[in-house]
């Protein structure tokens, strides 16, 4: 399913993926906006996280589910990427 070679995740890329799932423009997704309020439900989120996993970024869904903001998610992603590099 992965046509592209996996480019590394960036905050802007994450923002763009979230915006696409919500049918919004990336600039409409603020760092501390509640994604639930923007219309993100668990199934859409799950699909998105599954796609990230396919691209090689494995995130703990439980950690993501705890706080639904771009900032929080990016923090989870950064920790995961750091762990992968060092662990």
């Amino acid at each position: 399913m992965t046509e592209e070679t996996n480019p590394p995740m960036t905050r802007e890329r994450m923002r763009a993926d979230i915006a696409r799932a919500l049918r919004m423009d990336p600039e409409e997704v603020g760092g501390d906006d509640d994604l639930n309020d923007l219309g993100l439900d668990s199934m859409r989120a799950m699909s998105m996280v599954l796609r990230w996993t396919e691209r090689g970024l494995q995130l703990d869904f439980g950690e993501l589910a705890e706080k639904l903001t771009l900032d929080a998610w990016w923090a989870v992603a950064e920790r995961a990427m750091a762990k992968r590099v060092h662990g």
């Binding site: 399913m1 509640d34 994604l35 639930n36 439900d41 668990s42 199934m43 859409r44 989120a45 799950m46 699909s47 996280v49 599954l50 996993t53 396919e54 494995q58 703990d60 869904f61 439980g62 950690e63 993501l64 589910a65 705890e66 706080k67 639904l68 920790r79 750091a82 762990k83 060092h86 662990g87």
Partner: protein, 1304 residues
């Protein structure tokens, strides 16, 4: 996390926990609430590091160390750090088979029920099997952990283990338990919860009731099972790929698509337009509790209703929308929604099967190890659960099925797993649900081919030739016995040949029909045989049928001649037996493909239709029967079925085919059990046939007891397991259940229901020779075992056609899709395969009903009614207001000039008597439901008793009928009507018996009325020289219904008033299988000393029960106060070493509930007395609540209670008072068996009464909800729920062979 605090705060339970806590309280001994799994590690595990990791996670996972204790109104929980389940390492490497030892240890642990108040709700254990093989076992009560919570812990342990070994970042700790409780409280108080509630109520407002995919699902689900069957199936990589691809193409989430695919599978199995499945919702997204190990999972309903013809992505659209909305409103608890909707109690569930998709199910990596998950239990399974687990990267999906063993066999659970996986694959591959058969190709192959592998050589000949050979071979043997006279085969040969010659002389032969309308007699047999020997086919007519019907049949069949005593309607020429010659030579006779007979059956259009059966077809049937059951010349076969009913065909011809003797019952004897029993004994009958309802009537007759025959055949309607068992208790013979429509040469399937058959229900069995049976869906595809479908018949025995109706023939006999060029017959019956290939009959799919063996098209009756100008509109329904008593009732909108009696006469002139409705009910309009169909539930039950049935004949009957009518306030009562069926209840019964005593000077006793509730039967009893010992209805042990002597009866204990007559409805519902005896308060008699305590009373009753000397075990039931006494009796009986079977408490609650109430005053006692007498005290506000006034009121009011002797009334008052005192002073002891509580589900709102209050006083507690108020528990409606459940319950406690035996 809270270990540093001395005492953790006490927290309320979350909503999710409350439901589980209540369920466990109801059934404290049930271990099914334990969830458990183990992960199998292969490779070098660092045990020390692993211990560190697990203990680290345990320190964070507060919920594993909870203690949950009951408080008034619920329960509270508190973290107790001393309860943390530190890892326990068990070395089994020295065991001979360490793996088996570990599995056994885990199974033992899982089977241990947990008391939430004691803690110890979780366990973490490592079994060491060898240095490279470990099992990590985790068990937790569902109250503290759900599946997602378990995964959180597993992942946390993996992180900590990794960190310990490699120094990697251990990541975020688990979140504290308090977060989950806090969030739950916030949600409960939020406006969002109200909005969610409104959403769900609206969605479910028009939802149908749940149809389970397993038989009996509705009732069985009331009882939580203790285990679950587990099965799994892999879904292949191609299907996983197709799933993702289809989802991506249509912008769907694949878990949603998969949920709906599995929902569509469930819908198929229910056979309904809509199925409601439960969908699990993790309830953690955007929640502070997202990383809290706890139980939050929620199950919410998804209405699955799709257009199967639409492309897949369109068909699922509506359900996808529902799922999206479910996620927005998913925090609302399913348990609460069920309460909101009033879907409580048996059969009122919120959803059927559950679909649980876990796309993040991933076993984290443990360095150097491979890890494999094994599930041991995931909590209670009410019905069946489809769990789908996969990890984000994996291509394969794993489908696990968990099924309630009360509803599914292990085999069925495995079949569901395999079949559901196949269904999902096929739906994705074809892109359209309609293109997917429910059965797998392997199942279809088995059900179409293997089950129907019935090919067997049969000579291609005719009945006439076979019987001709037999007659020639044994001229001197007795062919026919009739009224004590014998007819030899020689005479039969001569006379039938002579008749055939006469017919041939009239150029009647092949292709012609000859009508026969004769009473049962040797002439009838000669007629049938003579016609066949002439090459023609016979057309039997019943002279008792209305002229109009006979005329229509004759007009359509156009017989060449009629062999009859008297003229028939129309032009047909008559040849009476008196003009038959006794000598003559038979012509050549028929060919195998020629018709042997044509029998008319009821037709839905109002026009009867004649099925034409060829010789080849009936020869197959009779040859099969002869060989299969080993009929020989020594057999004597009873012929008692009218010739118009096709069962008569084998009764007539099988004996002649086997050289045996045909014994003809005298005309009319087939309805007289005594005459049949006499005939069987006197004639040495070896084989007889009974329609099941006739068999039931026959067995009820004392003369049937002890009869012995070689075999008895049943067909024509459903043979119930109870009837089978009663048969074997009463007489000695093989019992065979046959099935077949007139359109397929009598019978096409058979089942041996002889002694030892335990099938419930009794199957119709397997196909006979050269016959195929198919159970197909609407698209004519085979349905798998356990799924209801339409029954089709194919093979040699099919009828050739409906006489003169090519249109009907083409509709009913359609091409066999599995055998090109052959036909199959659409029976209109619903059926289902058992796993072993035997078929179960499940009733009619159309308006046809079976009544006492007659196949009746309601449409034919409706057409007869509609032909009267007195009626604008009508519908006929078969009502079963009392179990086993099916009656036809016509509902109609009258036109001017309507007169019920005239209409009845009109109908009786057009249809046979068994098709005349017993009641005609005039309504302003026929009630319809929203879909415009007749709303059957809204049709009123007819008022019976307007002069139906036989009139009273003897003097005693006439006088008794007058008394019945007086007491029941009816204009008249016939001889055969049931007193209780006419609305008589226990108090009226007493009134009646008092009048009987006045009128006849004899007192048969109240118990006698319960056993003989009709005028005729009671009259017989009164006329009998020796009356049974009188009971005045007040003695301490009263018989309420007689049952089979070999079965343990039910003892019912009186409620507050001390009288047990109120159990009359229940007693009659359980009779005649089970006897019911009522215990009544001895202190109704003023001379009896009042009991010192409730235990003393119970001990006295226990002694009386033992002294009665019935077979055990002892079954007990009690309503209200009676339940408390029954419980105490059960304890006492166990103390004495007696086996106790059922202990049924009918909405009674322990004494603890009453102790706190104020001491009752005299007014309370008299109010209770009024209630017992059937008055509502609130309706008598001016009545002073003191003795004189109340007694006077009761007497004036003319209530039966008021007719009791003063001393007895005083007794009732005394007993009410005394019982109150006894209960307050009673301390319950523990009963070491299971209490079954029948809860009045409509009652006790706002009161703290719960069946769970019995939990401390029994080893087990089961609850059955009854849709009634406390005061209605004895009503017919409540009895309709209670009696079947009690019957099952008692059946589950099989008795000992002998009488009560002390175990001590």
């Amino acid at each position: 996390m809270a270990d540093s605090v001395d005492v953790a705060p006490e927290l309320p339970l979350t909503e999710a926990q409350e439901g589980l806590w209540y369920a466990q309280r109801l059934d404290p001994g049930n271990p099914v609430f334990n969830t458990g799994q183990y992960i199998e590690f292969r490779g070098p595990l660092d045990v020390a590091a692993f211990r560190e990791a697990v203990n680290g996670a345990v320190t964070e996972a507060d919920s594993l160390a909870l203690r949950i204790r009951p408080v008034p109104g619920g329960a509270v929980q508190r973290l107790d750090p001393t309860l943390r389940p530190w890892l326990d390492v068990v070395d089994l490497s020295a065991e001979p088979d360490p793996l088996i030892a570990a599995r056994a240890a885990m199974a033992r642990d899982m089977a241990q029920p947990m008391d939430p108040a004691c803690g110890g709700l979780a366990t973490e254990r490592l079994y060491r099997l060898s240095p490279d093989h470990h099992l990590w076992y985790q068990r937790a009560h569902h109250l503290v952990l759900d599946g997602y919570g378990t995964e959180l812990i597993v992942r946390r342990v993996a992180s900590l283990y990794n960190a310990g070994l490699t120094g990697a970042d251990p990541g975020q700790p688990l979140a504290p338990f308090g977060a989950a409780v806090e969030e739950d409280a916030t949600y409960r108080a939020s406006p969002r919860r109200k909005a969610d509630a409104a959403y769900w109520r609206k969605l479910m407002a028009s939802a149908p009731d749940i149809t389970g995919i397993a038989e009996g699902a509705a009732l069985g689900a009331a009882m939580t099972a203790r285990t679950a069957h587990r099965a799994h199936a892999a879904i292949d990589a191609a299907t996983g790929e197709a799933l993702r691809h289809t989802a991506a193409m249509h912008d769907l989430a694949w878990p949603d698509l998969l949920t709906i695919l599995l929902g569509a599978y469930c819908r198929r199995l229910t056979g309904e337009a809509e199925a409601i499945i439960g969908v699990t919702f993790m309830n953690r997204f955007g929640s502070a509790a997202a990383r809290t190990p706890s139980t939050l999972m929620n199950v919410l309903p998804l209405r699955v209703r799709m257009d199967e013809e639409a492309p897949l992505h369109e068909a699922v659209e509506e359900a996808v929308t529902q799922l999206a909305r479910m996620r927005r409103h998913g925090r609302y608890r399913g348990e609460q929604l069920r309460r909101d909707l009033g879907r409580l109690g048996a059969g009122r569930r919120l959803h059927g099967a559950i679909v649980n998709i876990q796309p993040f199910h991933e076993i984290p990596s443990f360095p150097g190890l491979t890890a494999k998950l094994h599930l041991l239990g995931t909590g209670p399974v009410d019905d069946i659960t489809f769990d789908l687990r996969t990890d984000p990267g994996a291509a394969t999906l794993r489908l696990d099925v968990e099924a309630n063993p009360n509803l599914y066999s292990a085999e069925e659970a495995a079949a569901h797993a395999m079949r559901a996986a196949h269904f999902v694959s096929a739906a994705l591959a074809t892109g359209r649900f309609a293109a997917v058969p429910t059965a797998t190709p392997a199942e279809a192959q088995r059900l179409v081919e293997a089950v129907n592998d019935t090919a067997h050589p049969v000579p291609d000949t005719t009945l006439a030739a076979l019987i001709g050979a037999e007659m020639a071979a044994r001229p001197d043997a007795t062919a026919i016995r009739f009224e004590g006279r014998s007819l030899s085969y020689r005479v039969l040969d001569e006379r039938s040949a002579a008749l055939a010659a006469v017919l041939a002389g009239r150029h009647i032969g092949t292709g012609d029909l000859v009508a026969v309308s004769l009473e049962r007699s040797p002439e009838l047999v000669i007629a049938l045989l003579g016609i066949m020997r002439a090459g023609a086919a016979y057309l039997p007519l019943d002279p008792a049928h209305p002229e109009d019907r006979l005329a229509r049949i004759l007009a359509s069949a156009k017989p060449r001649l009629a062999l009859a005593q008297v003229a028939l309607p129309g032009e047909v020429e008559i040849l009476p037996p008196s003009s038959w010659p006794s000598r003559g030579s038979a012509p050549v006779g028929p060919r195998p493909e020629d018709a042997a007979y044509a029998i008319y059956t009821s037709g839905s259009t109002g026009e009867p239709k004649g099925a034409v059966i060829t010789h080849r077809a009936i020869v197959n049937r009779l040859k099969w029967m002869r060989q299969h059951y080993g009929f020989a010349a020594k057999d004597r076969i009873l012929q008692k079925t009218p010739a118009t009913f096709d069962v008569s065909v084998w009764e007539f011809f099988l004996p002649l085919l086997a050289g045996a003797t045909l014994v003809l019952a005298p005309p009319g004897a087939h309805r007289d059990p005594a005459a049949i029993a006499r005939l069987i004994r006197e004639e040495g009958i070896t084989t007889a046939h009974f329609v099941p309802s006739m068999l039931a009537a026959f067995l009820a007759h004392p003369d049937a007891r002890g009869l012995a025959m070689a075999r008895v055949f049943c067909s024509g309607e459903e043979l119930t397991p109870d009837l089978r068992d009663r048969f074997h208790a009463m007489m000695k013979a093989e019992l065979h259940n046959l099935y077949g429509p007139t359109e397929a040469a009598v019978d096409v399937s058979y089942w041996d229901a002889s002694e030892g058959d335990r099938s419930r229900p009794v199957p119709i069995g397997r196909p006979v020779w050269n016959t195929r049976l198919y159970v197909l869906d609407d698209a004519l595809r085979p349905v798998p075992p356990g799924v209801t479908g339409h029954l089709f018949i194919a093979g040699t025995q099919l009828a050739r056609e409906y006489l003169g109706r090519p249109d009907l023939t083409a509709r009913a006999f359609i091409p066999d899709p599995f055998r090109p060029g052959e036909r199959m017959y659409r029976t209109g019956d619903l059926a289902r395969f058992r796993n072993d290939g035997a078929i179960l009959y499940l009733g009619r799919s159309d308006g046809q009903v079976k009544l006492r063996g007659f196949r009746i098209e309601l449409g034919e009756i409706e057409a007869a009614i509609a032909s009267s100008p007195m009626v604008c509109q009508n519908r006929v329904v078969a009502r079963e207001d009392r179990p086993g008593d099916k009656r036809l009732v016509a509902y109609l909108v009258p036109a001017p000039g309507y007169d019920a009696a005239a209409l009845r006469a009109h109908v009786a002139a057009r249809v046979p008597d068994y098709m005349v409705p017993v009641a005609f009910v005039a309504l302003d309009a026929l009630p319809v439901n929203t879909s415009g169909k007749l709303d059957r539930a809204a049709l009123p039950a007819p008022e019976m008793g307007q002069g139906r049935g036989r009139s009273p004949e003897t003097e005693t009957e006439r006088r008794l009928a007058a008394l019945f009518a007086e007491v029941l306030d009816l204009p008249e009562v016939s001889a055969e009507e049931d007193f209780f069926g006419l609305g008589g209840h226990s108090l009226l019964a007493l009134d009646l018996m008092l009048r009987v005593r006045e009128s006849f000077g004899r007192d048969p006793g109240l118990g006698a009325l319960f056993e003989n509730p009709t005028v005729a039967r009671l009259a017989t009893l009164i006329d009998a020289a020796a009356l049974p010992p009188s009971d005045n209805g007040l003695c301490p042990l009263i018989s309420l219904a007689r049952g089979e002597e070999s079965r343990a009866p039910l003892f019912v204990v009186h409620p507050a008033g001390g009288l047990a007559w109120n159990y009359g409805n229940l007693a009659r519902a359980l009779s005649p299988e089970r006897g019911v005896l009522g215990l009544q308060a001895p202190s109704l008699d003023a001379d009896a000393p009042p009991p010192a305590s409730l235990d003393a009373l119970a001990a006295d009753y226990a002694d009386r029960v033992i002294a009665a000397g019935h077979p055990g075990p002892i079954h007990l039931a009690g309503w209200s106060v009676g339940g408390i006494i029954a419980h105490a009796m059960a304890v006492r009986l166990r103390e004495l070493g007696h086996a106790v079977g059922a202990l049924a408490l009918l909405d009674s609650y322990p004494a603890d509930a009453w102790r706190a109430e104020p001491e009752p005053d005299a007014a309370t006692i008299y109010r209770a007395l009024l209630t017992i007498a059937g008055h509502d005290p609130a309706q008598c506000p001016d009545l002073p609540m003191e003795r004189g006034a109340v007694m006077a009121f009761l007497r004036q009011g003319g209530t039966p209670l008021g007719r009791l002797p003063e001393a007895v009334l005083d007794g009732v008052v005394r007993v009410v008072e005394g019982n109150n005192r006894l209960i307050r002073g009673h301390r319950h002891r523990r009963f070491d068996g299971t209490v079954t509580h029948f809860r009045a589900a409509h009652d006790h709102a706002g009161r703290a009464l719960s069946p769970a209050m019995w939990a401390p006083y029994a080893a087990g507690l089961e609850v059955v909800d009854v849709p009634a108020l406390h005061g209605e528990m004895m009503s017919g409606v409540a009895t309709g729920v209670i009696a079947p459940a009690l019957r099952r319950l008692m059946a589950s406690h099989p008795g000992s062979a002998g009488h009560l035996v002390s175990l001590s």
